[in-house]
Symmetry: C2
Subunit: 246 residues, 2 copies
DNA sequence: GCCGTGCCAAATGTGCACATTTTTATAAAG
DNA sequence: CTTTATAAAAATGTGCACATTTGGCACGGC
């Protein structure tokens, strides 16, 4: 049977912003979940076929993702999943490290029992995931810890910047495998909370810094691999199915 | 005489990425220079007429600026220059303050004579501009100081984030007038350099923090004003002329 | 006098038909 | 067999013709 899906018949000019959003979210999630490997070419015609929408719609979404620097757009040559260099990855981790130093500096000024309690609860979750060996949850919760820290400041700009950094590093997981076992990270996170409770800025920053350097040191290049996803249809049907299941 | 410029005749299908970039830069510069006031509607047909390009080209640029959050895009209602709330402005300044705390923390680790010398030279420039009463130069150099600080780290992600924050706050100048006289800022900048030279993290951060709180406290709402630029053609011909003059 | 209703002009959104460019396949030459 | 040149095929870029939606304005009723 043909892999072709329902396609909009000619003359379908109805405005449908939800459809844009659906395609955007689908591709974005595929990127964030690492389904789309670095270097993969995202051509317009096959994507239009897969999602059953016009090529212009795909085109618009691709360019939007390009403007957000989530895809690499090359004139006349289309969109590709970016293949970050090792320096790029270090740059993202370093940025996160520097940002968190600032966050912690500000956070010790307004830390209260409620925040400590919330963070402690999160640590329990992390430990639970680690002890039951749920690696996917561990990675997710490990990132969420830092999100909680910055969200405690209640600053939309900072929160967005961190989300941006995390989304970028998640793409990099497919190329540079970071910290396969993040069990140790739980203790380091705990040490940060402990320093916060004691209002000890210097220690909080020092622990955080060590934490990131620890993660960075585990980065390694598995160069030859770079598989560059082949079957786009399979990738996106999986993503769409997962999203529909919720 | 008609205000209409040369318009692309029918059948002009030549690929011209430079034209996209020219329109993008023109609108971006108009935004950054504060020529486009908050709340101004940017409709596609008049812009196409002004720049002498097709409406699709304008459309693409507008959506790109929207994806970068420099313009506010409302479905079916076009693009507007965003009208930030006072909280938005505070959020940007606070983000800058938190970021700089992190930058300074990292910077004391790798500060050397060359850096101190460079910053000192910059301070001299700032003072010169202040003493000769060049307000435009003072504002520009005042922002440049913080750019120099973050650039000293050599991290592309952090540099980009700061540039983003500064570009956003420059738009806000048209609504919330910050620090009409930034002369005092020079001394505060000098104090930061002094703390850096002494490798005193705590003092550097404290001075930086006071500096930002100082600027923030001067923000005030001149609500009724909001003129919302009327004559788009005049705005952009001025921008284009200035850019051509260089 | 003021608010709701229905038209009309203007602006935005979208598919489509090409032009242009890139990539791939094929063939010929060294 | 490798390399280069050429042509065909595929993919991207762009203007255009509409459809749809929004905003303004006059008209009429309360």
């Amino acid at each position: 049977m043909a892999t072709q899906r329902r396609r909009n018949g000619p003359g379908n000019r109805k405005a449908n912003p939800a459809e844009d959003e659906a395609v955007y979210q689908a591709i974005l999630h595929a990127l964030l979940e690492g389904k789309l490997k670095a270097g993969t070419k995202l051509a317009e015609p096959p994507l239009a076929d897969i999602f059953g929408v016009s090529r212009e719609r795909i085109r618009k979404v691709l360019h939007r993702l390009g403007a957000e620097r989530r895809l690499e757009m090359i004139p006349n040559r289309g969109a590709r999943v970016p293949r970050p260099t090792l320096d790029d990855v270090r740059s993202v981790y370093e940025a996160h490290r520097v940002l968190e130093a600032g966050v912690l500096t500000q956070l010790v000024r307004l830390v209260d029992d409620a925040l400590i309690e919330k963070l402690t609860a999160h640590l329990a979750e992390e430990r639970a995931a680690a002890t039951r060996g749920d690696r996917a949850a561990s990675v997710r919760l490990s990132g969420a810890f830092h999100v909680h820290l910055v969200e405690a400041l209640g600053n939309a700009e900072l929160t967005r910047f961190l989300a941006d950094l995390l989304s970028r590093s998640s793409v990099m997981v497919s190329v540079y495998e970071p910290a396969t076992d993040s069990i140790c990270a739980v203790d380091e996170h705990g040490a940060i909370v402990e320093a916060l409770r004691a209002r000890d800025v210097a220690r909080a920053i020092a622990v955080s810094r060590e934490h990131f350097l620890h993660v960075e040191s585990r980065l390694h290049l598995d160069d030859d691999a770079v598989p560059a996803s082949e079957d786009l249809a399979a990738v996106f049907t999986a993503v769409k199915a997962k999203r529909r299941r919720r």
